[in-house]
Symmetry: C2
Subunit: 412 residues, 2 copies
């Protein structure tokens, strides 16, 4: 038996949420713990209440809505994503997955469908990690990956403390930020943020795992000299060394794996003046692959290139590892549920590994998990031109709903 979401209501709900923190160019600027975040949370709580869900706000602001099952001993199926956005980000990202979770319970209530397993929907705090680092913070605290006190103390660029901001918007709850029940399975719908579904002409993605990644920062310290009278052979130019490593990070993936990616997203130079040789340059690496060994190899090669570049320029260097996440392999049970749901609805699906981290990575530490991916036009995300057609949004939401229902009604 398939359950079908009400397409009109679903699209209307997506459009409604996109107004809160809307940008002039059709995007979304709904940074975590901002006034816009409070507003979307208030709305989300109202919707959950209207559906008769049991609401829990935990001490880290994660919002849960619980729908009882028929078997008091059956584990809960957890479904959801996040409602915060990147600065001037898109309106789909994780919002789609949270709206779809809400539509799932609306649809079950409307059709009076009972499930053996309880279903709980969730909006995780600060998935984006742009205002406060790290990303996927709420699910990370909840899964025991991060220390509550440490994450409370994080500050944004203006020096605002996370805990103060959480209190300010009224979402510091009393429930400990940790699993409060037995969970059977977890599902998250998110846009792909990559081009594979579109390139392959598929309707939805069945996510089998998530690439791991390493983040770090390299700093070169050369010598600030006048750009005119300093001969080339006298220079210790930190930016030239950085350029060598940035080039290496661009080329490395071809030499390693089919799914390896490498990026320098951030660079700062000092004194950063047109006629002074750069003395200090700091820049980041972001290296990802589905295989742990490939990630390690990529990081080693980048550091080896930094050492060579520093030697060539005769300068000092240092590096800091900023973050590391191992690749995740999702569970067969949940992958099957997503694939079968897509098949039964007549959607053309493909299995894929997620190139981005998601709350589901933390959820997977607590329970069997998988994800549904929606098509991202041009693979674009984290900017206002992010786009997924309503057809593709609907296909993914329907897949999520039916996968959740099949897991929640399974005889386990």
């Amino acid at each position: 038996m398939n359950v079908e979401l009400d397409r009109d209501r679903f699209v209307e709900t997506m459009r409604y949420q996109a107004q809160i923190g809307a940008t002039e160019d059709g995007g979304l600027h709904r940074l975590t713990l901002s006034d816009a975040d409070r507003e979307i949370r208030d709305w989300f709580a109202e919707q959950m209440e209207a559906e008769g869900l049991g609401i829990t706000i935990d001490e880290f602001g994660n919002m849960f809505g619980y729908r009882e099952g028929t078997d008091p001993d059956a584990g809960t199926v957890l479904v959801g994503s996040h409602l915060d956005s990147q600065p001037y980000g898109g309106i789909y990202d994780g919002q789609l997955g949270t709206v779809a979770a809400l539509e799932l319970v609306r649809t079950l209530n409307e059709a009076d469908i009972e499930t053996k397993h309880p279903i709980e929907i969730v909006n995780w705090t600060n998935e984006e990690g742009s205002r406060f680092q790290p990303a996927m913070q709420g699910s990370g605290v909840w899964a025991g990956e991060h220390e509550l006190a440490e994450e409370y103390a994080r500050t944004d660029a203006d020096g605002n403390v996370f805990e103060d901001e959480l209190e300010r918007i009224g979402y510091k709850g009393d429930t400990p930020a940790e699993p409060q029940r037995e969970y059977e399975a977890g599902l998250e719908l998110h846009i792909e943020q990559g081009p594979y579904l579109e390139e392959n002409g598929k309707d939805v993605g069945v996510v089998t795992g998530v690439v791991g990644f390493t983040w770090g920062e390299i700093t070169f310290r050369g010598e600030a000299d006048h750009s005119g009278p300093t001969p080339m052979h006298h220079r210790r130019d930190a930016l030239v060394a950085a350029a060598d490593v940035i080039t290496q990070i661009r080329r490395l993936p071809d030499a390693l794996g089919e799914r390896t990616v490498g990026t320098t997203g951030h660079i700062d130079a000092g004194p950063n003046s047109i006629n002074i040789i750069p003395e200090t340059v700091s820049f980041t690496w972001d290296l990802r692959d589905p295989e742990t060994a490939v990630i390690d190899e990529a990081r080693e090669r980048v550091l080896a290139e930094a050492e060579r570049a520093a030697t060539r320029e005769g300068i000092e260097w240092e590096y800091t590892d900023r973050h590391r996440t191992d690749p995740v392999q999702f569970s067969e049970q949940c992958i099957d549920a997503v694939r079968d749901a897509a098949d039964s609805l007549g959607y053309d699906s493909m299995e894929m590994v997620s190139g981005a981290g998601h709350d589901a990575v933390h959820v997977a530490k607590e329970m069997d998990t998988s994800m549904v991916f929606a098509v991202s036009e041009g693979g674009k995300s984290h900017n206002e031109s992010e786009f997924t057609s309503w057809d593709d949004c609907y296909a993914a939401a329907n897949t999520l709903t039916n996968a959740a229902v099949s897991l929640a009604t399974a005889d386990r």
Copy 2:
């Protein structure tokens, strides 16, 4: 007949001026038109007055002190440099050349030496160009290279307007900023800011000309995508293209000329976030050589590489020429005067081309000109570790003094 400066008084004067705007680490932070600039100007005016010089402050703040000659028809010899500094710069730079010009007139007065030609000493406004661009601004306006109104309207990083700041410190004079007399010759003492004198074991440099240079900015516009799920072949990474050109700017000089130098001193990336592919990267070029043809060739090759890099990444690019100065060949008369002065004092000198622009480049448009260079330890400048020994300062100041006296007493 040689004139010898009073070494103790000269060193004491150098030390005195270095206190005004001194940094904790022994450098100088005396940005143009700052309170520290006002203080050093007040001091300089007092010293000139004490020597009985006829003081002129022109409408751009350039300060002149005139010492009469014996021949009313003889052209004036102009001697001086600048008293402003880079942010956290050194205490020698052009300050040495201005103090030496003051010591020149002190010495002539003390010894009651009359010269046929009048001698005028000068402190040029805003040589450094770090607070307000362009560099060598005061001498440029004076020599008719820049429009007064345009330069008045320049703003610093905080939005302060040049003309307002000039009035605020009380140095907007009434005299038009243009040559007010007939000039016979110009001389400027400056630290070398390069390593050639030290490497060759010389006492002073005889400057035969100044390299020309081209300044410009290249902007690449790629696409901001998520660093995880965007495959390498889908990327339009503005920073990778910039790295290619920065590398080219580093390598180019070897392929062009012995004295060619190329620098990227400034870079800005956006959105500049660890997990977003850089969308916009702007960075500068600074290319210098004694030959116009080589400068043009270097600029062409950099732009050609930018075009290739943009094509490789599939991105847009544009460039802006920011500044251009042709190489300058100083006059034989003045070069000879400097070389002969060094010889007669027993200093070991070498002829050299200046790698940096100086006020003397503008002065040379109005009169025969040359420069004296003082040894720069390690070639360092524009930072607090800039260093010239008092012996080397004194040798250069004595050379300047005697070159000026020989030009001022010559029978022309």
